[in-house]
Amino acid sequence: MSQVRIDECIPTGELLTSGHLACPGCAAPLAMRLALKALGPNTIVVMPACCFTIIAGPWPQSSLQVPVYHAGFATGPAVASGVRAALDLQGKHDTTVMVWVGDGGTFDIGLQSLSGAAERNENILYVCYDNEAYMNTGIQRSSATPWGAWTTTTPAQFPESTNKKDILGIMAAHGIPYAATATVGYPVDLIEKFTRAKGMRGTRFLHLLSPCPPGWKCGDDEGIELARMAVQNRVFPMLEIEEGERWRLTMDHAGDPVEPYLRRQGRFRHLNAEQVAHIQTGIDRRWVALQRRVAMSGEHALSAVPSAVPSAAPSAAPSSAPQPAGV
């Protein structure tokens, strides 16, 4: 049968229980469900303030069957660094520490903490599920809000006037071992990326597009399809970046025009033809630049990471030194 049997590629265990408080049709719990399937129970989640703070369920409930630390808004990577250090002291080197946070906590208030952790190459898996605004507090703009979008702080008369921050470019500039985009529209691709990230060390960054029906003003059942459209029209390309240098696309992108994607979302309802064309131009330009980076990637070889730990050092290796692979 020509149906692609995704069930053959999705692990069957469930680590997210029903009864969580996500809005109907929200992509975030689906993303978490899939992520935990890939990562398994040997995972600790650090969760700064974001929609999932509420989704996870109020005390004394939790919908995640792994340990969770609900953290302050800007602190995910820092808290995770502390958790990681403690786990390593306890000999639990294989426990994955995953930071799970929204676009607000990543692009804006938490960017400093993220940059710090990435610069230190902390051995954490950082996941930004991006619904393109501060949705938890009622749909206010963030620096992840795309140009032209309505939000409660960028009303239709003056919609979002700056481009979405290039978070992946920022993370690539840190030279971390792995950065990638993924989305619930392509669950197998997402699972593969989480699995790949899990098997690596150092700072791994995953940027997930997470459609939000109330914030994007679409039907509850449209989120998955919108995620696919965003990939196919190259608004949100599926890519992987290793060491900040080797860029590759992980699937074909049809290059569909962006307009149908925009028209399905009430947050873009006010756009006129000129504005739509502007968005299309931006997408096309960024795509060309991305193609160039992908093409250039073949020229750079992976260089070995030198160990700064002197051979005469006693057993304790301070986390401040670059970690040799495998530690």
Partner: protein
């Protein structure tokens, strides 16, 4: 083992003796030698800790919170603006009942930039739920650092200890380093009752509704109210093992005094010499050193004053100011002594001095004593010494 060392290094020694497991800190004058010394100790293996060199103090506290939540012993140090930057996380550490210890090198707050000592940084954090212990000497710093972990882990409350910038942090004093083996007996490895553990998965810190939040704050309050008795017991052990103790409040030559100085930090050392001089001259001046500011030692101070009986005036020397209000120790003392009967309640003179590192000399203290003696009641709640308006 006796060594001569500056206060910042005394902190580092305390951290090493306590076998801290995770440190995360960001450098700021005049704390920097704390982190430098600790880095050395980690590098040469004398301290088997992970040192996370974060990019801000807010992250430093967040990182030690993360480590503490995972069940290990964690420490950080800061000062002034750094401490303020981690303000949100101070609340978090206390509300999360994380037994973190932090050394704060007291330093004034800008603008204008001022690297010298006063207590506004730590005192402005007095509502965050941390125990606050103010140190007078470098010996006290080492001892308090270790005891702070024991206190924190006994009650699941975070503890900050203060040392004056430059006067202690950068001043070398002789210090008797306690024996590591004895310290290990005094302070075993941390055994956290709850932690992040994949074998027992829980979520920590989720949404708590109005129907339960007050209970959690009540339990936090209850724990803090056990601090005085717990600290006393801890100091008793320390006394037994190492021959030293300090007390949450120490009375110095207070018997029979009719005027008491109330001090904290290094001003205490200067005040001791003033008391000695006045006593030598026949004046009944005594001193109360307040080490434990949070929880405020209300019962101890009240009992002390009742016991002392003859005190008619109290001169509180505050190296701090709550703008729009008064010196903070003075204000808290007034509240603490409010319930004393009419005959027992002394006049309280609150003196604001030494802000921004301005020297508090015996003459300055003498000025305060003179003012306290001169007026029958304070002319205002905050009496500023040595300010030329």
């Amino acid at each position: 083992m006796k060594k001569v060392m500056v206060g910042n290094h005394a902190v580092a020694w305390g951290v090493r003796l306590a076998r801290v497991e995770v440190i995360s800190a960001y450098p700021i004058t005049p704390q920097t030698q704390v982190v430098e010394k600790l880095s050395e100790m980690c590098a040469d293996g004398t301290l088997a800790a992970r040192f996370i060199k974060v990019e801000s103090e807010h992250s430093a506290m967040a990182a030690v919170i993360g480590a503490s939540a995972t069940g290990v012993r964690a420490f950080t140090a800061s000062s002034s603006h750094g401490l303020l930057y981690m303000h949100e996380m101070l609340h978090w550490a206390a509300g999360g009942r994380h037994p973190i210890v932090m050394a704060d090198v007291n330093r004034a707050i800008g603008p204008g930039w001022n690297i010298w000592t006063d207590q506004n940084d730590s005192l402005s954090q007095r509502d965050t739920g941390w125990v606050q212990l103010y140190c007078e000497t470098n010996q006290e710093v080492v001892d308090t650092t270790v005891m702070a972990f024991k206190l924190a882990e006994s009650l699941s409350v975070p503890v900050m200890l203060m040392l004056d910038g430059f006067y202690l942090s950068h001043t070398a004093e002789p210090v008797d380093i306690p024996d590591q083996e004895l310290v290990d007996r005094f302070l075993p490895k941390r055994d956290a009752p709850h932690k992040l553990d994949v074998d027992q998965p829980h979520a920590f810190g989720a949404l708590v509704r109005p129907d339960s939040y007050m209970e959690m704050r009540w339990l936090q309050q209850e724990a803090l109210q056990k601090v005085p008795e717990t600290l006393a017991a801890i100091e008793q052990d320390w006394q037994r093992m190492f021959g030293r103790s300090y007390g949450a409040v120490e009375a110095y030559r207070a018997e029979g005094a009719d005027l008491l100085l109330v001090t904290s930090g290094t001003i205490t050392s200067t005040a001791r010499t003033v008391v000695d001089a006045r006593r030598a001259a026949g004046e009944a001046v005594g001193l109360l050193k307040v080490k434990m500011f949070r929880p405020f030692p209300t019962a101890l101070l009240r009992d002390a004053l009742r016991r002392l009986g003859r005190v008619s005036r109290v001169a509180v020397l505050d190296r701090n100011i709550s703008p729009g209000h008064g010196g903070i120790f003075a204000e808290e003392l007034r509240a603490a002594l409010y319930d004393l009967g009419d005959g027992e309640r002394p006049e309280i003179f609150g003196f604001v001095l030494g802000l921004g590192g301005r020297d508090v000399t015996p003459a300055v203290i003498g000025e305060a004593i003179a003012q306290a003696r001169a007026g029958t009641v304070p002319s205002r709640e905050d009496l500023w010494v040595g300010v030329n308006p």
